[in-house]
Amino acid sequence: MIRVGALADIPVGEAIRVEADVPIAVFRVSVDGADGADGAVYAIDDTCTHQKASLSDGWLDGCMVECPLHATCFDLRTGLPDGPPAKVPVRTHQVVVMDGMVYLKLAEHTREQEVEVA
C-alpha cells in the first residue's frame, strides 16, 4: 500500500496528486462516505485517457471529475467517462483510511485488461 498522507490535509472538494509508478489523483468528495465520514475519498489514474491532462486539476462535482482540457467527465467510483472525447475508462484504485491516514492499494492492470480477463 502507498501512504498518501493525513485525511485532514485533503480539503473536502479538493484533489491531490500522488506520484506512484504513474501519477494518481486522490479526491475527497463532498458526498459522505459509507462509514459516515465527512467526505469520501476516491483514487483514479491522474492522466486523462484521451490526451495528456491532469485530472487532479479538473472540476469536481459530486463523484464526477471534469477533465480540465476537453471536459469529459469521469466517474470516480467506476472510472467510466460520460462521453467524448475520452473513450477509455481511467483505472480506479482502492482507498483505505486508517487512523486518520489515507492509503492506496493500486489496481494492477488497466480497465481494458480487466475486461479481457473477465
Binding site: Q51, A53, G58, W59, E66, P84, P85
Partner: protein, 433 residues
C-alpha cells in the same frame, strides 16, 4: 416529424450531430457525406502529437464501437457541390441528388493558401503572392468541401488541415531541415514547436508586430511569442512575406523587406476559410465578415430543416452581440446538440461554450487555454502566477466585468474561471429581456 437527415461533413461537427440526433431519439434514415476518404478523425493532434510521431494514426479515429448504433450511411470520398433548398437536396460531385427532410451543413473550413489573386487575410498584409500560388478559381467547384485544393504547386510548401497534409509534412521534417513557417498563429506556433522538437531548424515569420495579438491581445501575445526564442526558434515579426522562391522545389522565402530566408520546407499557417462555396445559389445567407453560414443561437438557418454547425457556421451569440464563427474544437463537439434539438423540434439549450468559447494550444511543453470573448480595448491583468515563469493566469475585463480568461500552465484556476464566466454568461442571457 423528420424521417431522413443528410449530414454534409464527416469531421467532428458532422459526427457530433449524428450522435446527438440518435441520442435525442431520432430513428430515421441518417446519411453522412464526407469529402475525405477517411472516417471521422481528430484534427488537433495533426500539428502536435501526430506530427511528432508520438500518436499513431489509429489513435486519431473518432469512431468507437458504440457508434455502430448510429446506423448511418457513410458516403466518404464524396463531395457536395450544391444545395437545393426547395427540395432539401444535396447534390454530390457525381450529380447524384440526396433528398431528405433535413440537411446539416458541417463542411468545416480549409487552410488558406498563399495564393491566388485576392485571397485576403490579415497575416498577409503585404503584396499578394505570385509564384507557387494556386489559381483563385481553384476554390470553386468540387474541391471545396474537403481535402480540397490540389496543394501548392511548389514541392516542399505545405498547409496542415487534413491527416494527409500532416503525413506529408511529417515525412519532410527530418533533423537539420530548414523550415520556415509563414504565420505565427496557433497552428504556426504548434508546428514550430513540434518541428523544433524533431531537430528541425525553424524560423517563424509573422506579418503582425506581435503574434496572436488578434485573439489574445498584445500583452499575452507577447508572452506566448517569447516561447519561441526560449526554445531556440527564430521569430521575425512585422514583415509580410513577399513570395516563396524555388523552381520545382522551394529554396527560400523572400520577405517584403528583401530578406531571403533559406528553406527546405515551408508551412503556410495563415488561417482558414469556411467551405461554403458549394452553397452558392442556395439562398442561404453567409455572414460577410466571417464567411460562415448565418444561423441563430440554435444552429437554424433561414431555411426550415437546414442547420449549420462547426467551423463553417456563424452562429448568433448574445454575449458577442452578433454572429460569431468559431474554429474551436469544443464548438464542433458541443454545438451540434443544439442543431439536433432544432431539427427534432425539441427545446434547445445552447451549451455554456456557446457563450464562453474555449480553446487550448500546446506549444513547447506549455499548455495555453483561453475562454470567453475578447475584443480590442479590453483590459487584461495577470491575476496569479508569473509571466516570466511561464505559469500564470490573466483575466480580461470590459468596464470592470470579467469577459475572458487566459492561462499558461495553470489549468486548475483556469477551469474555475471558465466555469465562473459560463455561469455569468448564462445569468446574463437568462435575465435579458
Amino acid at each position: 416529424m423528420i424521417a431522413s437527415v443528410t449530414v454534409v461533413g464527416a469531421s467532428l461537427a458532422g459526427l457530433s450531430t449524428a450522435r446527438a440526433l440518435r441520442a435525442q431519439g431520432y430513428q430515421g434514415r441518417l446519411t453522412v457525406v464526407g469529402a475525405e476518404h477517411h472516417p471521422p478523425y481528430d484534427r488537433p493532434p495533426l500539428s502536435k502529437e501526430y506530427l511528432a510521431g508520438t500518436l499513431d494514426r489509429t489513435e486519431l479515429d473518432l469512431l468507437t464501437p458504440e457508434d455502430d448504433a448510429l446506423t448511418a450511411d457513410w458516403l466518404l470520398g464524396r463531395t457536395a457541390i450544391a444545395l437545393d433548398t426547395d427540395e432539401r437536396a444535396v447534390v454530390l460531385d457525381g450529380g447524384e441528388r440526396l433528398v431528405s427532410d433535413a440537411v446539416v451543413i458541417a463542411t468545416g473550413a480549409r487552410a488558406r493558401q498563399l495564393a491566388g489573386p485576392a485571397l485576403p487575410g490579415p497575416a498577409l498584409a503585404g503584396p499578394v503572392l505570385p509564384g507557387p500560388a494556386l489559381p483563385g478559381p481553384a476554390l470553386a467547384g468540387p474541391a471545396l468541401a474537403g481535402p480540397a485544393l490540389a496543394g501548392p504547386a511548389l514541392a516542399g510548401v505545405h498547409t496542415v488541415r487534413t491527416v494527409d497534409d500532416a503525413t506529408a509534412l511529417r515525412a519532410e521534417l527530418v533533423p537539420g531541415a530548414r523550415l520556415v513557417l509563414i504565420g505565427g498563429g496557433f497552428i504556426g506556433a504548434e508546428i514550430a514547436s513540434t518541428a523544433n522538437g524533431l531537430g528541425v531548424d525553424v524560423v517563424v515569420v509573422e506579418a503582425l508586430g506581435v503574434p496572436l495579438a488578434g485573439p489574445l491581445g498584445t500583452e499575452i501575445g507577447q508572452a506566448c511569442a517569447a516561447l519561441h526564442a526560449e526554445h531556440g526558434v527564430r521569430l521575425i515579426t512585422g514583415v509580410p512575406v513577399q513570395r516563396v522562391l524555388g523552381a520545382d522545389r522551394v529554396r527560400a522565402v523572400q520577405l517584403a523587406d528583401g530578406r531571403e530566408l533559406p528553406a527546405d520546407v515551408v508551412v503556410v499557417g495563415i488561417g482558414s476559410t469556411p467551405c461554403v462555396e458549394w452553397l452558392a445559389g442556395s439562398g442561404l445567407a453567409v455572414d460577410a465578415a466571417s464567411g460562415g453560414v448565418r444561423t441563430d443561437a440554435y444552429c437554424a438557418t433561414e431555411v426550415p430543416g437546414v442547420v449549420a454547425v462547426g467551423d463553417c457556421a456563424s452562429a448568433y451569440r448574445r454575449r458577442a452581440g452578433g454572429p460569431v464563427r468559431l474554429e474551436h474544437w469544443t464548438n464542433a463537439l458541443k454545438h451540434p446538440a443544439s442543431a439536433a434539438a432544432t431539427l427534432l423540434g425539441a427545446p434547445s439549450a445552447a451549451s455554456a461554450d456557446h457563450e464562453v468559447p474555449y480553446f487550448w494550444s500546446d506549444q513547447y511543453g506549455a499548455r495555453l487555454q483561453f475562454a470567453g470573448h475578447r475584443v480590442h480595448g479590453d483590459q487584461v491583468e495577470v491575476t496569479e502566477g508569473d509571466v516570466d515563469a511561464r505559469s500564470f493566469l490573466a483575466v480580461y475585463r470590459r468596464d470592470g466585468d470579467p469577459v475572458a480568461v487566459f492561462a499558461m500552465n495553470r489549468p486548475k484556476p483556469f477551469v474555475r474561471w471558465r466555469r465562473e464566466l459560463a455561469s455569468r454568461a448564462t445569468a446574463a442571457v437568462t435575465s435579458a429581456p
